[in-house]
């Protein structure tokens, strides 16, 4: 590590998923020296990159739970943040569909649950209206509930935007840095052991996702939880399937799972999933024949024509479930430590709410928070209710991210932009219509990709129906010629 990297910090945040990056950008609003460390070569490569990409309202959360509160708050914050930062969001709304009389009988309770969570826009929809709105829906639906504010979001741009904002506000991002232990601290400092050398800091925030229990035990295990990964497999269908639905189609949840949904994506595809299966291996992101089969069976019932379309991709994500039904968030003043663990299946939507909550816990635990004043944009402190500061509790100015959604104007469609810079007219990835200009911009961004996967998440290149048949070789060459082909750097470079 360089001197700047090993300089003692006020706070080290472990984990640069959507939760860790949200916490980092929130802390960046204060006069603090923060480090954001992640074992991976890029931000957002854990559960944050492989989920269902829904910006939940929290209508179905357990009333009174921490999850319900932070989800409601977080989704409000993220909606306005996304609009400012250019994170693709589409307010498609959701239809929760009942297929049997029993399921239909459960709908009023679900609507009531939503109201108890402070969400009042839920509305019953009769079968005739349901089919008028979703003509491709399979036969046999009895009734539905409409949740008009359920939205779809880009899970890749979100942590990238948070991290970009944090880094531009001075947070030091240490990638390829796995935290392996903590030395006993008596002098007011923590000494973290990492795969790239020791790190000294006053406070530690644990946002390690699937590894949060391991980190928690290093700090006394006050959370008393164990991560029990629950795998969710998903299938991405071709863009030509997108006209088959207009809303997110949710099933009536069971006690065990929220069930398999069909949802549009902000990239113009259709998502089918997820499954729910407990696994023991925290790295097992493999899909299974049985899982994919069960999804196709479900898809066949929900939108029969969907399964006739081509499949673009399939993947799996691991929910950081624990033995507890709620998020595991607390602060330990004595250990100068806060934990944001057990963020199972709603962390993308709740991220900014979680961050706000964690920061207020840190403050109560004794972390001094002095608002940083940055130029004209102004940064607002925690004093007073967040959100009244005119920008929904968003500190500073969100960065403007490259827009990779389908709902807005893409560079290849933007005549003015191409006229100003012909590189935006040179399409390199044909299925996703990603231009040379966008790839070049990603390589030159404040947080450039470390590998082709990172480039995919920043531009969509190679994510389309051909999966690289046409463009992978060309995109790989472009990546290499930006001089970054040799990244990630070797993970072990321990300073003496």
């Amino acid at each position: 590590m360089t001197d700047a990297e090993v300089r003692p910090a006020d706070v080290v945040i472990i984990g640069a998923g959507v939760v860790g990056t949200a916490i980092a950008r929130t802390l960046a609003g204060y006069s603090l020296d923060c480090v954001l460390a992640d074992a991976a070569a890029d931000v957002g490569t854990g559960t944050s990159k492989a989920n269902t990409a829904i910006l939940h309202t929290g209508f179905d959360a357990k009333p009174g739970s921490l999850e319900a509160r932070l989800l409601r708050r977080g989704s409000e914050l993220l909606r306005s943040y996304a609009a400012a930062a250019g994170i693709p969001v589409e307010r498609t709304g959701a239809l929760l569909v009942a297929w049997t009389p029993e399921q239909s009988a459960a709908l009023p309770a679900i609507a009531d649950n939503a109201r108890r969570n402070g969400y009042h826009a839920v509305r019953p929809v009769a079968a005739a209206e349901l089919y008028a709105r979703e003509p491709s829906l399979g036969p046999g639906a009895v009734a539905a509930l409409e949740i008009p504010d359920e939205s779809i979001i880009c899970p890749w741009t979100t942590p990238l935007a948070f991290a970009t904002e944090a880094v531009s506000a001075g947070v030091r991002l240490l990638l390829g840095t796995s935290v392996t232990g903590v030395a006993p601290s008596g002098d007011g400092w923590h000494q973290l052991a990492t795969t790239r050398g020791p790190l000294r800091c006053r406070w530690v925030v644990n946002a390690a996702g699937l590894g949060a229990d391991v980190i928690d035990r290093m700090f006394g295990g006050g959370g008393g939880f164990t991560v029990r990964p629950r795998r969710g497999e998903l299938i991405v269908f071709d863009k030509l399937a997108r006209p088959l639905l207009s809303s997110i189609l949710l099933p009536v949840p069971t006690a065990r799972t929220k069930g398999v949904l069909v949802a549009p994506t902000v990239y113009g595809n259709v998502l089918l999933g997820p499954t729910a299966e407990n696994v023991s291996d925290r790295g097992d992101l493999g899909t299974t024949a049985a899982g994919l089969r069960s999804l196709l069976d479900a898809g066949q019932r929900i939108v029969p024509r969907l399964v006739e379309e081509e499949i673009t991709s399939s993947y799996a994500g691991l929910r950081a479930a624990t033995e507890h039904p709620d998020y595991q968030i607390y602060a330990d003043a004595g250990r100068r430590y806060a934990c944001a663990g057990g963020i199972r299946s709603t962390g993308l939507s709740a991220s900014l709410g979680i961050a706000e909550h964690v920061v207020s816990l840190l403050e109560s635990a004794g972390l001094a928070l002095r608002p940083r004043v940055t130029g004209l944009s102004g940064v607002f402190g925690l004093s007073g209710p967040l959100g009244v500061s005119g920008h929904s509790g968003v500190f500073g100015t969100p960065p403007v991210m490259a827009y990779i959604g389908e709902a807005g104007v893409r560079p290849y469609q933007d005549a003015g932009r191409i006229a100003a810079d012909p590189a935006y007219g040179q399409i390199v990835c044909h299925c996703e219509r990603v231009t040379l200009g966008e790839i070049r911009d990603a390589m030159a961004s404040p947080l450039p990709p470390a590998d082709l996967g990172g480039l995919r998440r920043r531009t969509r290149a190679m994510n389309g129906r051909c999966q690289g048949f046409y463009c992978a070789a060309a995109v790989s060459r472009l990546f290499a010629s930006s001089g970054r082909a040799d990244l990630p750097r070797a993970a072990v470079a321990v300073p003496t």
């Binding site: 493999g286 499949i311 993947y315 932009r417 129906r465 070789a473």
Partner: protein, 453 residues
């Protein structure tokens, strides 16, 4: 490069979308037949289509009557089209296609340069079609009296085949492999497995060998390989590549880098792990039909390309389709021949229109019944003395192997034709002559092609 702004809609007689063997051959033929301006747009930086990166010999037999390597063949076709007076625009993607006067440029969003978006109604509706193109020159609108779609086909990648497991690097299709090796100069070390044992699979095996990899096996679910004997023998003798028939890839293993694949015997289910650094998914073609579908053309459920009649006209009058878009996949020379066929039909249609001759012919569907998988063309242009398909024959595919299969053509319970015994091999073409066309009732029901007995 010329970065000047385009000035108003581009007017051409024929717009050809795709500069592969089919598109380039069609363009040259159109010009030879005296068509007006012919514009060939291709989204790749160079014309030529797939052969650009298929570095081995085996191209050009039926259209150029000699064997060339892919790149030499691609160059020869491009040169011929240019010499005939066609304009080729590489680096140009056609993003939308619609009948003229239907709100052209609906794909264009954001501010338009005044020369395109501004000023009054666009080209008045006088038939023809309007396409939108993106290139470094900007967003352009093209108005064409006729359009030929020749956008080719691609191999289904691993996710589309629903092969479960991890998502490591080192998993690709033949086209990606060949572009990496022949256009990018990449070397691939270590062991490789090829999925498929048809013509293109051996092409992949050759490329792997050239790149420095050792091909451990060609794995096919079918009971035997499906390439041509000469090609197969050459590959087998030169590189001693075993073909594992009746086997399927059950799982891809490797976190980050590919570690290997799990191969199972499809009958017994017994599986074993084959360590490898590269796995190439070959064949299993799907037409690149996005433009055809978004343009609203009727699609054929068998070929999954646009439905075309024996003139290679689609369901939209004036829009034609040829090459591997309508038969995925045939060899390049067959694609080229079908491009030429379409060119002749387009020239005839434009000529008829110029003479103010009557309405477009109706279409009589031709359907392949299982175990036949698809037939192309899949309709008959229903006019007196119906035009024959390219090379005077229909091309079919089968789902299954059959040794002595007899095809028969039936319409409204009436047998129009019975073939001699033919051999069916899933990845290989079966041909059906068109002599029976004259016996078809052009006002009758759909024509069915089936196996006898």
């Amino acid at each position: 490069m010329n970065h000047t702004r385009p000035s108003g809609p581009v007017q051409v007689e024929v717009l050809v979308v795709g500069a592969g063997p089919a598109g380039l051959s069609a363009a040259a033929e159109l010009r030879r037949l005296g068509a007006g301006p012919v514009l060939v747009a291709d989204r790749e930086p160079e014309p030529g289509g797939i052969p650009r990166h298929s570095w081995h010999t085996g191209y050009g037999l039926r259209d150029r009557h000699r064997l060339l390597t892919g790149p030499a063949y691609a160059r020869a076709l491009a040169d011929a089209a240019l010499a005939a007076g066609a304009e080729i625009r590489p680096g140009t993607t056609v993003t939308a296609l619609a009948p003229a006067g239907s709100g052209i440029g609906h794909e264009v969003r954001g501010p338009l340069p005044p020369s395109i978006g501004g000023g009054g109604p666009q080209t008045p509706d006088r038939g023809g079609h309007t396409a939108t193109m993106t290139s470094a020159r900007g967003i352009e609108t093209v108005h064409a009296a006729a359009v030929l779609l020749v956008t080719g086909c691609r191999e289904r990648p691993r996710p589309a085949r629903l092969v479960p497991g991890d998502r490591p690097t080192g998993v690709m299709t033949t086209a990606e492999l060949q572009q990496r090796v022949y256009l990018g100069g990449e070397r691939l070390a270590g062991r490789a497995v090829v999925v498929g044992a048809e013509h293109v699979s051996f092409s992949a095996a050759m490329t792997l060998a050239h790149s420095g990899a050792r091909v451990v096996a060609l794995v096919t679910e079918h009971e035997r390989q499906q390439s041509y004997a000469a090609f197969r023998l050459g590959a087998a003798l030169r590189w001693r590549i075993p073909v594992w028939a009746g086997c399927a890839i059950r799982r891809v293993v490797g976190r980050g880098q590919l570690a290997g694949v799990e191969v199972a015997d499809v009958r017994t289910g017994s599986a074993r792990f084959i360590p490898c650094q590269t796995v190439v998914f070959t064949g299993d073609w799907i037409p690149d039909h996005e433009l055809a579908r978004t343009a609203g053309l009727d699609m054929d459920p068998g070929t999954r390309g646009p439905a075309v009649d024996t003139m290679l006209q689609t369901s939209a009058a004036g829009v034609f389709a040829a090459g591997n878009l309508v038969h995925a996949a045939e060899t390049a020379d067959i694609a080229a021949v079908s491009g030429r066929h379409a060119a002749r039909q387009i020239a005839a249609a434009l000529d008829a229109r110029a003479r103010g001759r009557g309405p477009e012919p109706t279409r009589l569907p031709v359907r392949a019944e299982p175990p036949l998988r698809w037939i192309s063309p899949n309709a008959i242009a229903a006019r007196a003395g119906p035009p024959a398909p390219p090379l005077g024959r229909f091309v079919l595919r089968s789902w299954e192997f059959r040794r002595l299969a007899r095809l028969q053509v039936i319409q409204d319970g009436r047998v129009l034709f019975r073939s001699r015994p033919v051999r069916l091999i899933p990845a290989r073409p079966v041909h059906l002559g068109a002599s029976w066309l004259s016996r078809a009732d052009l006002a009758g029901g759909p024509v069915h092609v089936q196996l006898r007995g």
